[in-house]
């Protein structure tokens, strides 16, 4: 076998072949229930779960901030659904806002939150409320620290703040046990830097996998008390809830793609070392 030619052509492999193989690797696990996978719950996800679990039912609401756009929805919406299911199953009230600057987070909220709330028979403005979006995240965060009405005088459906039963007695962060921010940008960090440090708000973060490494310093220092990272984080949370969802469904695919990429890397390096050795020789 002519290894020289084989490895040379591997080094010059057309991108389209790589893309096709990745496409197959991503899609076929959805049709064939293989390979088996295992999800171990990390300490970051466990912390998030425990903090939400400790919120008293029918009391002060959990604040969920949908700070991502549709591009990150595949990774972050499973986390949102899992967190909502957790809260509603424990009769924890939920207050939803969006600080995604172009308002697309609000669209995601109106798509997902009412649907999950309906699964548990939860009533809008009594068990959950959606206040809408604000385009400037940091300004909105700081305003809510003093008076939430300042940032959101009306909810997304134009109901006045005072007319929402869930918000009776909710003035600012003092009445919020924790915030779960779901973000694909630095907004997640901003929750820890601004309301977290200035008002002592407990910050939990659900982030895209690429951003988790960035936020680790904040978790280690205690500024962020829990992290749900990427699709795997969503799968871990679903495992704790004992209710598999989209996060768990994506794990097989993720496993196949990871190993496919590792095979690419290994083959590419074998080809590279072979051809380099031949050149030196």
């Amino acid at each position: 076998m002519d290894f020289d030619r084989l490895f040379q052509s591997m080094l010059r492999l057309d991108r389209r072949i790589v893309y096709s193989l990745i496409f197959i690797a991503v899609t076929f696990p959805f049709y064939i229930a293989w390979p088996p996978f295992n999800v171990e719950v990390s300490k970051e996800v466990r912390s998030t779960y425990d903090i939400i679990e400790a919120i008293p039912p029918n009391g002060q609401p959990l604040l969920i901030s949908i700070d991502y756009d549709p591009a990150s929805a595949a990774e972050l919406s499973p986390m949102l659904v899992a967190a909502l299911r957790h809260a509603f199953s424990r009769d924890i009230r939920v207050l939803v806002i969006s600080l995604q600057t172009t308002g697309q987070g609000a669209g995601i909220a109106t798509q997902i939150v009412p649907a999950v709330a309906a699964e548990y028979g939860k009533k809008q403005n009594v068990d959950w409320a959606f206040l809408g979006f604000q385009p400037n995240p940091i300004v909105a965060m700081m305003a809510m620290g003093e008076d939430m009405r300042r940032a959101f005088p009306r909810d997304y459906f134009d109901t006045r703040y005072e007319e929402i039963p869930l918000l009776a007695g909710v003035q600012n962060y003092s009445q919020i046990p924790a915030v779960l921010t779901l973000a694909s940008t630095a907004v997640g960090e901003s929750w820890a830097i601004y309301p977290g440090s200035r008002y002592g708000l407990t910050v939990l973060a659900g982030l895209t996998a690429v951003y988790v490494a960035d936020i680790q310093p904040f978790y280690q220092s205690g500024q962020i008390r829990g992290i749900i990272g990427g699709l795997k984080g969503a799968a871990e949370y679903e495992k704790l809830l004992e209710r598999p969802g989209d996060g768990t469904a994506g794990m097989r695919s993720q496993k196949v793609v990871h190993y496919t990429m590792i095979i690419f890397i290994v083959l590419g390096n074998i080809a590279y070392l072979w051809t380099r050795r031949r050149r030196i020789a």
Partner: protein, 204 residues
Amino acid sequence: MKLQIPLLICAIAGIFMAVQYFIPAALPLYERVNDYLQIVFAFSIVLGVASVVHRHGGRLVRRKKDWVYSSLIIFGMLLMLLAGFIGGRGPGTLFQHLFNAVLLPVQATMFALLAFYMASAAFRSFRTRSLDATLLLVAAVFVMVGRLDDFKSLYIPDIARWILDGPNLVSKRAILLGVGLGMASTALKVVLGIERSYLGSGKE
């Protein structure tokens, strides 16, 4: 004067923002300024719409190259605007349906392209060219396998955990510190009027 006024506004605003951080009694004024910032920020969205209409409307009217795509942009923008204003934004409306059926999948698709680009970048670039490149390659493989919680008997997940919590965290903290100081220095230069690139040419 065209230059002095923006520089003065910048200096006053910058100094106020720095000073109010240390003065509790300045909080009401800070909140008022934040309210104004919200309005300014909202106007930038308006400016974005105006820019799109100006550019693509001009191409459409003058039948410049690729004017058909410009007409699609204008059509899409008008459709969403009218759907939102006439039908409302709540669940079950046309606006929400267009968002769920068009915008959401299109944006998710673009993000999904990253998987392909990542694979081709990994295949092309993760080569053992040097010690640095080899370390990068080995770390990437460990983290990719470790995140799947496989090969626990070989301690791969633990090694992946250590890579993320150890060297990764250390280097990120160091870069963060440098970036933070760089930001502070640039902000100080902007407030003092030394850095003027945000004004364009910075000249009269």
